[in-house]
């Protein structure tokens, strides 16, 4: 119950202002198509440099939570999901809006998001300290395998191609080795002076997540969103409350599905909404109404999206394995403040850990309150031409990368990685495992070297890294995640080939 002691820290004037600003800004950013939650959080990191660690994390956490929920606004009012996580919301939400029930759909969406989100954060509160204490038993070999696990799980589950996902992770791990070696001081892969200090994680995050989006917007040409905002009529919030709690099946399926999916590293919110929507439809007595503006569809999808947020931070805060790409960016935000996840976080920085987690709990309530008021404005922002958004994001990326340490080298690295990532994505590679490799690379290497030294003085490298219960468990999980993804890919390919043959 440690978290209760730090509740007051969320309500200091600056912290609360940041929470409020992050929530409202996140709702607006989330509603903007093309601005993903991951990109929004990456662009916000430079703004946290001058803040205390806890305050910086409050801003990032609030933005993470509310961008996911904000995506529902454009999904409902414009039929454009703000983020991939909101695809399922469009199915019934937009139909409701077209039927003149936009306000009802928005109210249900934000209320369901809040319920799902609060449940998810409560899971985070109760699971994290237990797992963090368990993580104390981890030695260098286990931490090495954990880092490899983080890269392989996201590499295999987050990519359409297992090989390309793993290759993206390898590229990230290699990028992390650029610069001076920590132990020998040797130069490694420094082929340009800008790389002398290695690749700065924040500049890389901005480049990898923001620049491909900018180029994608350019690639659409002089394109108009073409979507008209549907006017929102008044609707009683009390009625929405009553309706939400009369649809307990949809709410509980959405919340539980999102929470479970959030706990699995790498799966993320993209599929949480769709899986919850599908499951709710299966168990519903009104199956036929789904897709025709049925409130259960909105409730299931949105409760799942936000229920995923809290649990996706459990593996991050305990074992350094981000549960989603956005959680990977948050890990970057933690590391720049010199804070390492795991027991160190809860033993040495409990104020930072609990203030951050508590702020996410309060943030869910604020998101629900302000979501309803900001929805109209957010939908108008979503209509801003993509040319303006692209130019804004580009300028923010350049300023953000420069402000990390006042170096043009970081700006060059940001641009090169971003442009490279755009083309890699077009060839089926994925940014998430690359980022994970870049973030977890130094952790993997430090433990590989430290473990190697211990092994040389004791049982030898092979025995040290490849035997022991925990090592074997982690290796098994790494191999199982690869095998599962290969199997799924083969199944999908067989299914696609059969469909093509029938067509």
């Amino acid at each position: 119950m440690d978290f209760i002691y730090y509740f007051g820290d969320v309500f200091t004037p600056l912290s609360f202002m940041l929470l409020l600003g992050g929530t409202i800004g996140g709702l607006i950013l989330g509603a903007t198509p093309g601005l993903s939650p991951t990109m929004a959080v990456a662009l916000l990191i430079p703004f946290t440099f001058q803040l205390e660690a806890a305050q910086g994390l409050i801003l990032l956490g609030a933005a993470y939570t509310s961008t996911v929920a904000g995506g529902a606004v454009s999904a409902i009012l414009l039929k454009i999901p703000g983020a991939p996580a909101n695809i399922a919301t469009t199915l019934d939400g937009h139909t409701m809006a077209k039927q003149g029930q936009g306000a009802r759909a928005l109210q249900l969406s934000f209320l369901a998001s809040a319920v799902g989100g609060i449940f998810g954060v409560l899971l985070l509160i109760f699971l994290t300290p237990v797992l963090a204490q368990w993580a104390l038993a981890f030695g260098p070999s286990h931490l090495f395998w954990l880092a490899i696990l983080g890269v392989t799980v996201i590499g295999t589950l987050d990519s359409a191609s297992v090989v390309k996902g793993l290759l993206s992770g390898c590229i990230g791990l290699w990028l992390a080795t650029i610069g001076f070696d920590d132990i020998m001081g040797a130069q490694r892969f420094i082929f340009h002076p800008a790389l002398g200090g290695g690749i700065n994680i924040i500049a890389a995050l901005i480049g990898l997540f923001a620049i491909p989006q900018v180029l994608t917007m350019f690639a659409k040409g002089r394109h108009h969103t073409g979507a008209e905002v549907i006017e929102v009529q008044r609707h009683s919030i009390l009625e929405a409350f009553r309706e939400l709690f009369s649809r307990t099946r949809a709410l509980s399926i959405g919340t539980l599905t999102g929470s479970i999916i959030g706990l699995i590293p790498g799966v993320g919110g993209q599929i949480a909404g769709l899986v919850a929507y599908d499951q709710t439809k299966k168990f519903s007595s009104e199956k036929d109404k789904f897709g025709t503006g049925h409130s259960e569809g909105v409730i299931a999808a949105e409760s799942a999206n936000n229920a995923m947020v809290g649990p996706s931070l459990v593996p991050l805060l305990t074992l350094s394995i981000p549960g989603s790409p956005t959680a990977a960016v948050l890990l970057g935000g933690l590391l720049i403040h010199g804070i390492f996840p795991g027991s160190d976080l809860f033993d040495n920085h409990p104020d930072v850990a609990w203030t951050f987690i508590n702020s996410m709990l309060i943030g869910q309530v604020l998101m629900c309150i302000f979501g309803l008021y900001v929805a109209g404005l957010a939908a108008r922002v979503a209509q801003v031409p993509q040319s303006v958004m692209a130019a804004i994001v580009l300028a923010l990326s350049v300023f953000g990368a420069y402000s990390v340490q006042g170096s043009m080298g970081d700006v060059y690295v940001m641009a090169c990685l971003g442009i490279g990532m755009f083309f890699l994505e077009r060839f089926g590679f994925s940014a998430a495992p690359l980022v994970l490799g870049l973030i977890l690379g130094p952790i993997a290497e430090a433990n590989f070297i430290q473990g190697g030294m211990i092994a040389d003085a004791t049982v030898g490298k092979a025995s040290y890294f490849l035997t022991g219960g925990l090592n074997l468990l982690l290796i098994t999980v790494v191999l199982a995640s690869i095998a599962y993804s290969v199997w799924m890919e083969l199944l999908h390919r067989r299914y696609t080939t059969k469909e093509e043959a029938q067509a």
């Binding site: 703004f47 440099f49 001058q50 990519s159 359409a160 191609s161 090989v163 390309k164 793993l166 290759l167 390898c170 590229i171 791990l173 290699w174 080795t177 070696d181 132990i183 020998m184 040797a186 490694r188 892969f189 620049i211 900018v214 180029l215 350019f218 690639a219 659409k220 040409g221 002089r222 394109h223 108009h224 031409p385 993509q386 040319s387 692209a390 130019a391 804004i392 580009l394 300028a395 350049v398 300023f399 420069y402 402000s403 006042g406 043009m408 700006v411 060059y412 641009a415 442009i419 083309f423 890699l424 994505e425 077009r426 060839f427 089926g428 590679f429 993997a444 590989f448 070297i449 390919r493």
Partner: protein, 151 residues
């Protein structure tokens, strides 16, 4: 997607993989390259596999870049490169940002180019955006950016 695009893309990644492997196994001190060797070995095998599949025409994932996409993107990409690699340092961050922002808006804004109102709108948006950026970075965050021409 075009097979040659797959071959080119994966070939480039394979070439990087080969270079990383060569550097990892030839540079000294060897102790500093232990971890990179481990990574490079996996990297080059996976990159070789991907390249081989692309050469045999078995690459299925990825939509590539169509001609229309590339032509749409090209002006923006060129401006981005000039802005990042030359203008920001040589002209000063804010001057370069103002020019790049206005030019990008002019190229990609769907509003008609023939109307004066469109140009005025673009100018106003640029001015407001620059004021916000200056307020955020120079005044709030105290970020000192290169100042060459104007500011």
């Amino acid at each position: 997607m075009n097979r040659s695009q797959h071959v080119f893309g994966s070939g480039l990644v394979f070439a990087v993989g080969l270079w990383v492997t060569w550097v990892s196994y030839t540079q000294q001190p060897a102790e500093a390259f232990l971890f990179p060797r481990l990574i490079a070995s996996v990297f080059v095998v996976l990159a070789g596999w991907t390249f081989g599949k692309a050469v045999m025409g078995l690459s299925k994932v990825g939509n590539g870049v169509t001609r229309t996409m590339f032509l749409n993107m090209l002006p923006g990409l060129i401006i981005t490169l000039i802005y990042v690699f030359w203008a920001a340092k040589s002209l000063g961050f804010y001057t370069a940002t103002a020019i790049a922002f206005f030019v990008l808006l002019s190229i990609y804004d769907p509003a008609p180019h023939s109307k004066t109102k469109s140009w005025v709108k673009r100018g106003v948006i640029t001015a407001v955006f620059l004021a916000v950026m200056y307020g955020l970075f120079a005044m709030l965050l105290n970020v000192y950016t290169p100042k060459e021409i104007l500011f």
